[in-house]
C-alpha cells in the first residue's frame, strides 16, 4: 500500500540459532559426550561387535518409542506401552502349540493366524485407550494407567504364572535371526523408524499430529477432527507396542509375565531425552533416534566400565533427570521467547 523499504532476508546469528535449536542440539551433544567418555573409559566399548549389540539392545524399546513419539507429539502420553507389548507377546505364544511340559490351556493356531490375532489384540487395547480419551474424556495419563493394569491382567490370565517358549517361526526369525550379519530385529526397527518418519513428515496425517499437539484449539477451529487424530495416535501406539512385544518375546526366547516392565520407562525416556516436547507439537522421529542412542549407549556403556552395579541405576536416573530438565527448560525458553514475540 505504501512503498516499503526492501525487506531484508533475516540472517539469524549463531547464538539465536543455538537457542532455537537447543532442544535438538542438547541431546546430540549428550550422545557425543557419552560416546567419547565410554570409548576412553573402556577399550571394549568402541568396537563393531558392540555397536551391533547396542543396536540390538535398543530395538524393542525403539519400536515402542516410534508409537510413543506420535502420542507425545500430540501432547498426550501412553503409559500402557510395555504392558500391551507384554500381553501381545504372550498372546502370540498362547496361540502357538507349546512343548508338552508347558501346561497352558492354549489354543494352537497356524503361525500367521496367531500373529494377526495378537496384533488385532494390541490394536484393540490401543482403541480402548483412544475411546476412553476421546469419547469419555478420561485424561490419557489416567486412561493408559488403567490400561497398563488391564493389559497386565490379560497377560496373567493367559499364562497363569507359567512360561511359554514357542512362538511362530517367522516371529522367532525376526526376534533372533539375522540377515548378512544384521539382526532382523534391527532391520525391523529401521523399518518402523523410517515409516514413522515418513508418516510424520510427509503426510497430511503427520501434519495434523503436529498441529493438534502445537495448539489443539487452533486445530479444532481449522476444522481438524482432533478426536480422530488423538484416537489414531493411541491406536498406532498400541500396534507398535504389539509388534515390539512379539519381537521381544522371540528375542528373549520366552513369554512370561512382567518381562517388559523396564521398557515403559526406557521408551518414554528415549522420546523425551531425544528432545521431543512433553507438551506436544515439537520433536520428530529424528529426535527419538538420538534419544534411543543416548539410552542405548548409556545402558551398554555402564556395563563396560567397572562400577558398582547399584550405582549404575542411580547414574542412569541422574542422566535421565538432566535430560528432562533440559526438555522443560527448552520449553521455558520457547515460552519466554513467545512472550517477547521472538520465537
Amino acid at each position: 500500500m505504501t512503498v516499503q523499504d526492501k525487506i531484508a532476508m533475516p540472517r539469524p546469528s549463531l547464538g539465536f540459532w543455538l537457542r532455537n535449536q537447543m532442544r535438538n542440539v542438547a541431546p546430540f551433544a549428550t550422545l557425543l559426550c557419552l560416546v567419547v567418555f565410554f570409548s576412553l573409559a573402556s577399550p571394549s566399548f568402541a568396537t563393531a561387535d558392540n555397536l551391533a549389540n547396542i543396536l540390538t539392545q535398543i530395538s524393542v524399546t525403539g519400536i515402542m518409542a516410534v508409537g510413543l513419539t506420535f502420542v507425545i507429539l500430540c501432547g498426550e502420553i501412553d503409559l500402557s506401552v510395555a504392558a500391551v507389548a507384554n500381553a501381545t507377546g504372550i498372546a502370540v505364544a498362547y496361540f502357538t502349540s507349546q512343548e508338552a511340559y508347558v501346561s497352558i490351556a492354549n489354543i494352537p493356531l497356524p503361525g500367521w493366524a496367531a500373529i494377526i490375532l495378537a496384533l488385532i489384540g494390541a490394536g484393540v487395547l490401543g482403541l480402548v485407550n483412544a475411546l476412553g480419551l476421546t469419547l469419555i474424556g478420561i485424561p490419557s495419563f489416567i486412561m493408559t494407567l488403567a490400561m497398563m493394569q488391564i493389559a497386565a491382567g490379560v497377560s496373567a490370565m493367559l499364562v497363569r504364572g507359567q512360561i511359554a517358549y514357542a512362538v511362530p517361526d517367522i516371529v522367532t526369525t525376526i526376534g533372533s535371526g539375522s540377515i548378512h550379519g544384521v539382526p532382523w530385529i534391527v532391520v525391523l526397527l529401521a523399518c518402523f523408524l523410517i515409516v514413522g518418519h515418513v508418516v510424520l513428515t510427509y503426510t497430511r496425517f503427520g501434519r495434523y499430529v503436529y498441529m493438534v499437539g502445537g495448539n489443539r484449539e487452533a486445530a479444532e477451529y481449522s476444522g481438524v477432527n482432533t478426536k480422530v487424530i488423538l484416537g489414531a495416535v493411541l491406536v498406532i501406539s498400541g500396534v507398535c507396542s504389539g509388534v515390539a512385544g512379539m519381537a521381544g518375546v522371540a528375542h528373549f526366547g520366552s513369554a512370561q509375565q512382567n518381562e517388559f516392565d523396564t521398557y515403559l520407562l526406557d521408551s518414554i525416556a528415549a522420546v523425551v531425552v531425544g528432545g521431543t516436547s512433553l507438551f506436544g507439537g515439537r520433536g520428530s522421529i529424528g529426535n527419538t533416534i538420538v534419544g534411543l542412542c543416548v539410552l542405548g549407549v548409556l545402558n551398554n556403556g555402564l556395563d563396560h566400565v567397572q562400577i558398582d552395579s547399584f550405582l549404575k541405576i542411580l547414574i542412569r536416573g541422574l542422566i535421565l533427570l538432566a535430560a528432562l530438565v533440559i526438555n522443560v527448560y527448552a520449553q521455558r525458553l520457547r515460552d519466554t521467547a513467545a512472550v517477547r514475540g521472538e520465537v
Binding site: 531484508a8 533475516p10 497430511r204 502445537g214 477451529y221 521472538e342 520465537v343
Partner: protein, 497 residues
Amino acid sequence: MPTPLLEMIGITKSFGGVQALKGVDFALQAGEIHGLVGENGAGKSTMMKIIAGVHSGYGGRMTIEGREVNFRSARDALAAGIGMVHQELSIVPDLSVAENVFLGKQPIGAVGQVRWSTMVREAGEQLRKLGLDVDPRTRIGSLPIGLQQLIELARVLFSGARIIILDEPTSALSPPEVEQLFSVLRALKREGRSTIFISHFLDDILRVSDAVTVFRNGRKVADSAVSTIDKGWVIEQMIGVGHDDLEESYTGAIPLAAKPSAPVVMAARNLGASRFFRDVSFDIRAGEILGIYGFMGCGQVELARTLFGKIAPDHGTLVLEGTPRRLRNTAAAKGAGIAFVPESRRSMLFHHEPVYKNASIAILDRISRLWLKPMREREITQVQIGALNIRPPRADALLGSLSGGNQQKVALAKWLTHPPKVLVLSEPTRGMDVGAKDDVVRIVRSLRDQGLAVVVVSTEPETVLSLADRILVMKKGAIAREFADGSISKDRLLEAA
C-alpha cells in the same frame, strides 16, 4: 517544554536481518496520555517492549527524568515504575481472576502464606473501578476474551506504575468498556501518571490522548499535540496522502443493501445454548453479509461458535441449504461448508510454525490426500500474502515473528483459498490498521459477490457497519433488533444495543 518523564533517543532494534526500528525518538511527558499509531508492523509493539524491558538488546539511549536507564528485564522496568499490557494476552488461563490480577505480587502474610481473602477482596475492588462485576475466584480461562483483556488491564492500571503502556487495550472491548477504561485513564492522569496508548481506532486515540506520535516502517514520522490535528492528518502521516476514503467515521447514515433473492444457505430456528443465548432465528442468503452486533457478553461470540459446531445448541435447529443439521464437531461444520475465524488469535494460530502451515491447515484436505505438497502450500500462501499485504511477505517466516495485525491477516487467509459456502467471522479486523481493514472489507465483499454467505460478528460498531448488508443486534443473549433495507448510523446501532 519541561524534561520529559521518559525519553527514547535514536532507538534501533533488529531481529535477525529484519530491522524493526531504525533510529526512533520518542518522548513522554509526566501526566500525559500519549497516543501511538502506525501501520501493522510499523514497530510500535517492539518500541514498547524495549521500554518495558522485554527486549534488552537494542541501540540508542533511554532516559527517565533525565537519568539514563538500561533495563535488563521486565522486572527492572517494573521496579522503575513501568507497567505494560501486551497486545497478546498474557493471562494464565488456569488461575483464578484474583491470582491473575496479582500475578507475581501476591500479598504475603506473616508466615509466607498467600493472603487469599485480601487478594480476593482487593481484586474485586479494582475490577469494580473498571465497571466489572466478576467473582475474583472464577477461573479466568472460562471468561470471554473481552473480560480477560479487562482483567489484564486492571493488573497494570492499579499496580501503581508511573508509566502505563497499553498495547491495543480496546481491541476486544465494546463501547461501554472503552468508556470505562478512558475514565480510569483520565483519573490516573490526574494523579500525575502517564499512559502510552496504542490503537488502530483513530477516533479513540484522538478522543483520549493529549499528544500523538506516528510510526511508519520503523521510523517516527510525526508527532503533535492532539488539539491541532484531525483524523485525516493522522492517516496521511501513517500511510501517505490520497486515502480520504479511509476517514469515514460512520456518523452519518449508511445505506444497507436490499435483500438478495438468492436461496437461503443457512437458517437458525429458535437456536439456544444454555446460558449464552436463546431463541435466535435468522436466515442468511447466498451473496449476503449478515452483521451481528452486540456488546461484550451478549452471546454473539457463543452464537458464532455454535454455527461452527464448537458449542452444541440445546434447543432449536440449524438448517443448512434446506436440511436441518446437527453439527457434531468443527470437522462436521467444515464438511458442511462452513468456515470460522474466532476472535482470539491464540486460539486459531500456531505460533511456532511458519506462515504457510498456518495458512494451509484448514484447506489441507483440498490440496493433498495422503502426501503433503509443501511447495503448493507455499504458492497458495504467497497469493494470500499478496492479497492481504502480509508483512514480511515470506511464506516461511515463523508466525510468531509477525506483528499482531499481520498475524490476524494470516488467520483470515486460512479460509480464503477455497472459499466455503458460509463464512463466519468473529472480529475479523481486530488489530488491523486502517488500510488493512479496508482491504478486508474489499475482500469480504468480493467473496459475497461470488455468492458466499458471510456472517460478521463484532463488538465493534465500525466493523459491522463497514461490512454488513443487514444487521442483527443482540442484547443479553437474544436478538433485540434487526436493521435491514434502509439506512443506519452508528448512533442508532449503539442505541439498539
